[in-house]
């Protein structure tokens, strides 16, 4: 027998079924839309963006590494010859990069060096083993020009000293690096009693107060120690001291008691050095006549300070061409 109560129950079944159906349909729509969004999102980011970023970073790093090696490769080349050498080697490097990228990324890349748009600095080199002396005392590697009306200290990009420990005196030789505000770093270098190399560095402010002092004992390899005075380390990294970066450039560099120190050295600074009184006035080792200059004589040669290059990447989804300047020694002048 159907009563009002049972009729109401039957209508509730219908209403409940409709409500349940709406919930099922709604949940399925939401769940599917979530899944679709999750699947689609990552595909928006193209891996080629990462590859372009990698190429941008590596092309700068590669240019710097290659040019610095070519700068220090020969002693007697002219600026034009050096430029031609860099162009030729950059072409080889660019071709290797292009082959590598084409084989795995299906992309074309190239790097072109522009010698005319690049900035040159100068390299002062004594490539033979000898004292750090000259007829002038003290010897200025980078003259201050103070009082001459042409005060032009230089930004220092490279200062490497290859010390012959056995022939270096146990008395201290001094190298003083000073900036225009009067801050200075004094390096005192001598052989120790156990045939190692002592490098003591003192940083002084413009009032002459010592703000930092380090003493490093460097182990020689084949009786030589290679010092990087810009970074303040030996190349074997067994001794650390204050680098010239401890004070801000531009700098002047002076050697005192250079008869006590034996070795080879190489500096690279921006622009050319004017001939000053009390300056060693090195010969130009660039060009064919430079080959006749004895290796123990300091001489100057061109070096690329800032290289201008064009880097291009061409792929199915991304293409760009960047023209940029690469600071070879990481110093902006």
């Amino acid at each position: 027998m159907v009563t009002d109560r049972t009729r109401n129950r039957a209508q509730m079944i219908l209403l409940g079924a409709i409500a349940l159906a709406v919930i099922i349909v709604g949940v399925s729509v939401v769940a599917n839309s979530l899944t679709t969004t999750r699947t689609a999102a990552p595909s928006q980011a193209s891996p080629q963006i990462d590859e372009a970023r990698e190429f941008g970073f590596e092309s700068r790093k590669g240019t710097r590494s290659l040019v610095v090696r070519l700068n220090h490769r020969y002693r007697n080349v002219t600026g034009t010859e050096l430029g031609d050498d860099i162009e030729r080697n950059m072409r080889n490097y660019s071709q290797l990069l292009a082959e590598t990228y084409a084989s795995s990324h299906a992309e074309y890349v190239s790097i072109v060096y522009h010698n005319d748009s690049s900035a040159f600095g100068e390299r002062l080199v004594q490539s033979g083993n000898d004292n750090l002396t000259h007829s002038d005392t003290p010897m200025d590697l980078i003259p201050s020009g103070l009082g001459s009306g042409d005060e032009r200290p230089r930004q220092l990009g490279w200062f490497v000293l290859n010390v012959d420990v056995r022939n270096t005196s146990r008395e201290q030789a001094k190298i003083v690096v000073e900036n225009t505000t009067g801050d200075e770093i004094e390096y005192r270098i001598n052989e120790t009693s156990d045939s190692k190399l002592n490098v003591t560095s003192e940083v002084r402010d413009d009032s002459g107060t010592v703000t930092e002092r380090t003493t490093a004992i460097c182990d020689p390899s084949r009786e030589r120690v290679l010092l990087d005075l810009v970074d303040g380390t030996s190349f074997s990294a067994d001794c650390q001291f204050n680098g010239t970066q401890a004070i801000e450039g531009p700098y002047t560099v002076e050697v005192d008691d250079g008869t006590r120190l034996v070795g080879k050295y190489e500096l690279v600074y921006n622009d050319s050095v004017p001939m000053e009184p009390n300056y060693i006035d090195p010969a130009k080792c660039e060009g064919p006549s430079g080959a006749d200059i004895p290796r123990i004589e300091p001489c100057t040669a061109p070096a690329v300070w800032v290289a201008n290059v064009t880097a291009s990447l061409d792929s199915s989804e991304l293409s760009f061409t960047n023209d940029y300047n690469v600071s070879i020694y990481g110093v902006t002048s």
Binding site: A10, A21, V25, T36, S103
Partner: protein, 209 residues
Amino acid sequence: MRESTRGQAFTLEGLVSALVLLGALLFAVQSVVVMPGSGGDLDSSTRADLRQQATDILLTTARAEDNDLSTLVRNWSQARQTFSGAVNRNIGYGPRTPPGAFGVMLNQTFDQRGYLYNVHIAFRPRNLSEGTRRVPMVNRGSPSEQAVTASYTVTLYDNQTLTARNASQNVELWQYDTNATNNVDGFYPIPNAVDGPVYNVVEVRVVVW
């Protein structure tokens, strides 16, 4: 008569309810998205994530102060004629973890989450017609069809040296021989590809599956 009509109405209501529910269920079942990973394969989202993670590991290592990619590529043992600390030349480090932060990152990112990976060095031979060659750094088997690859380009220079602990720091890359059986000059499988200071441009490839 009235009760009979009501009975038919209840039956109809019940039928309609059942149809509504069946329709909703049918709609829900038909509209379920079948993901590519439902059969155990990697779905496209996971693959994109793995590729990004492998790329990030390579980028981080390439820019590291110590044990960067160039250092790892030159970490070659003359005594064992494989990478320093590796199992052998065929599988490289194989089940072992490569040295430095590179190995730690690969281990934490892939090993510990149940993924497999290979790492190999692709390089250009002196003669381009020979095609690209490769040296396995980590070989853990054949990648599946869903494997993803990330790579990073590294430039080697003539005056660089091998970085293995016992390698001579006085022998530069260009002085090594690529012939494994000639031990006079030492052996390094990657050749000097071009004249000039650049030695070769190699690619470190990480394959994950």
